[in-house]
């Protein structure tokens, strides 16, 4: 009756060999293709570095004006511009300007890639139920698997640095924009689609003139969520060499520096709030046509 009280485990040596086999196989893969992958991602690294340097090298008053203008362009709200400028001034005064620029660069590039890759994926998903059935569980895994787990293979393949960090952020942040693009397109009113069909619209014309414009509010909600998730990953990503506010939080955690931790943490929160509110306001403005209802 041994098997009742003790779980029938694999023998210790077999288990060790299994793990070792997996590790060896991946390491072999890494040795064979690691450099090729690194070369593949090199343009990305160059782009990210160029963007970081640009943000850091730009004199802070000019940067401040650019940020204020962007916030205005997105939100058309003076209180929001004022709030942003005040929090950025405070961040700078507390010595976190450069780290904030690093984080901004990472988030911007990550979001850009998520949009460029995620929206086409969402469109493909909306076009076929089979694609949706395959992609949905993959997105589920990407959202639920602890990031530390996929940091390991990324680390093995690409080592420590900005690109592995960026990739980790993208894996974590891309699902919402894919999901909501798919959902938004699927929710488009069937009557309007039929009208487009009746006028002889080709599938691409339908996508361009009906489906994407009407899915835009949902796509925008997805982009907003993607930005938020990317921001929440900056601390984790700093474990594998991403510089910026996240790294300072990590230092604070390792050394129990309470104030440093909170200051950098709150700076991340401030950026998150600005991104969130501005993108939401912008999304709402795109929907101008739905505001005035005939009474």
């Amino acid at each position: 009756m041994n098997w009742l009280t003790e779980f029938p485990e694999m023998s210790r040596t077999d288990l060790r060999d299994l793990k070792k086999g997996g590790d060896e196989a991946f390491k072999a893969f890494s040795r064979a293709y690691g450099e090729a992958l690194e070369n593949f991602f090199f343009p990305l690294l160059k782009f990210l570095k160029w963007f970081e340097d640009l943000l850091v090298a730009t004199p802070w008053p000019i940067m401040m004006i650019i940020i204020a203008l962007l916030v205005w362009a997105g939100s058309r709200s003076l209180p929001m511009v004022a709030g942003t400028v005040i929090s950025m001034l405070l961040i700078g005064y507390l010595g976190m300007w450069e780290d904030t620029m690093f984080t901004l660069a990472l988030i911007s590039v990550a979001t850009l890639i998520c949009i460029v890759v995620g929206i086409p994926f969402g469109i493909l998903m909306s076009k076929s139920d089979r694609t949706q059935a395959v992609v949905t569980p993959i997105l589920d895994i990407m959202q639920t698997i602890p990031p530390f787990v996929y940091l390991i293979p990324i680390l093995l393949l690409l080592g420590i640095g900005r690109v592995p960090g960026l990739i980790a952020v993208i894996i974590f942040a891309i699902p919402p924009v894919v999901r909501l693009t798919n959902l938004g397109i699927r929710l488009v009113d069937k009557d309007v689609l039929e009208a487009a069909d009746s006028f002889g619209a080709s599938p691409w014309q339908k996508m361009r003139t009906v489906q994407l414009p009407l899915a835009l509010p949902n796509i925008f909600a997805g982009v907003n969520q993607t930005i938020m998730m990317a921001l929440s990953m900056v601390v984790t990503a700093s474990l594998i060499g991403v510089t910026g506010l996240g790294q300072e939080v990590l230092v604070a955690l390792n050394n129990q520096y309470l104030s440093l931790g909170f200051m950098n943490g709150l700076a991340i929160v401030a950026i998150a709030i600005v991104f969130d509110r501005v993108s939401q306001k912008y999304g709402k403005r795109l929907q101008k046509h739905s505001e005035v209802v005939h009474g």
Partner: protein
């Protein structure tokens, strides 16, 4: 003016994964209920043969579930038939390739929908140019044409409004302008006015008749409202449970209902507005005394009105060529107006 009619030939539609399998059974008389209960397929249309006249309004009438909306969607093949043909200009729409079908929809047909189906993110003008944009017509040219139609349907000044800023009646005017701007010979109207208030509906019917008198398109108009069918239809086909149970002019249907179902249907109709003078006039004699003259295609109601206005009991009938062709008696006129045909 449209030069070609639409021929619908032996059209069947069975909804379900294996529609073709049951065609023979349905042809041999399997009922809609049996098909549904035993085989899980829905009979949408059965043995439809309608010859829709060029340049005229063909009304397809039926209650909900009769298959009328399914039928109109076969003309531009938004729904594929199980078997059968829809012939226009010697081509069978049902056999067209994808590219031919897109071309056919772009240039030969335009459709107006019950729920308007406007693009909510586009203004009235941008909605109206939609068909032209799909055709690939230059934007300036498209807007020029669209503006003409926006004005024609009475929406001048609303070009930059969004659909949800407009009332239902105005939204359907946009739907009509969008269809007319396409400049297609076939105009498909799927319960186009059913969602509108009665007064606005009458208004829109007048707009349609006015435009049709000028353009002479081949119009297919779907409705569940008999009064609307009789007012608009040059020809009417009545559908029940996916089958045509009677077709003809409004007068033919009102005078000779094919079965008790239709007889019941037309009981409440104002017959004076449907039956024409030529149906009941007598060839001779021409009345020497009366000063009242009516045309053979005038409706009884207006003839009776003319006689009572002049306090006469008889009227002479003069055709478009100016010849006196017969006379009409007031008593006969009123009898024809108040006696319902029975089956």
């Amino acid at each position: 003016m449209a030069s070609h009619g639409i021929e619908i030939k032996d059209l069947y539609k069975i909804f379900g994964p294996n529609g073709e399998k049951y065609i023979e059974a349905v042809k041999n008389g399997m009922s809609k209920t049996e098909l549904n209960e035993k085989h899980g397929h829905v009979l949408g249309l059965k043995d439809i043969n309608i010859s829709m006249p060029a340049g005229q309004i063909q009304v397809v009438m039926g209650l909900s579930g009769s298959g009328k909306s399914t039928l109109i969607r076969h003309i531009n093949r938004l729904i594929d038939p199980t078997v059968g043909a829809v012939v226009y200009e010697d081509a069978d729409v049902c056999q067209m390739s994808k590219a031919e079908l897109l071309d056919f929809r772009r240039h030969k047909t335009a459709m107006v929908f019950q729920k308007f189906a406007l693009l909510p993110h586009r203004t009235v003008l941008q909605n109206t140019i939609y068909g032209l944009e799909i055709q690939g017509i230059d934007k300036n040219e498209a807007e020029k044409r669209a503006l003409k139609w926006i004005e024609r349907v009475g929406l001048a000044g609303f070009e930059d409004n969004y659909p949800n800023q407009l009332s239902g009646g105005m939204q359907q005017r946009v739907g009509l302008a969008r269809a007319l701007a396409n400049d297609a010979d076939i105009l498909l109207m799927d319960e186009a006015f059913s969602a509108l208030d009665p007064l606005i509906r009458t208004d829109m019917q007048a707009v349609l008749l006015d435009i049709q008198s000028e353009l002479k398109k081949t119009v297919v108009f779907i409705t569940h409202d008999l009064d609307e069918a009789l007012r608009l239809g040059d020809r009417i086909a009545i559908l029940r449970d996916g089958e045509v149970i009677q077709q003809g002019t409004g007068q033919e249907i009102v005078l000779n209902p094919a079965d008790a179902y239709i007889a019941d249907f037309i009981k409440e109709v104002n017959r004076g507005r449907v039956i024409s003078v030529s149906t009941i006039m007598s060839g001779q004699p021409i009345d020497a005394v009366t000063k009242v003259e009516v045309g053979p295609d005038d409706r009884l109601e207006s003839a009776a009105q003319a006689m009572t206005d002049m306090e006469e009991n008889r009227a002479n009938v003069r055709d478009i060529n100016g010849n006196l062709v017969g006379s009409l008696d007031l008593k006969d006129t009123i009898r024809a107006m108040v006696t319902a045909a029975t089956h």
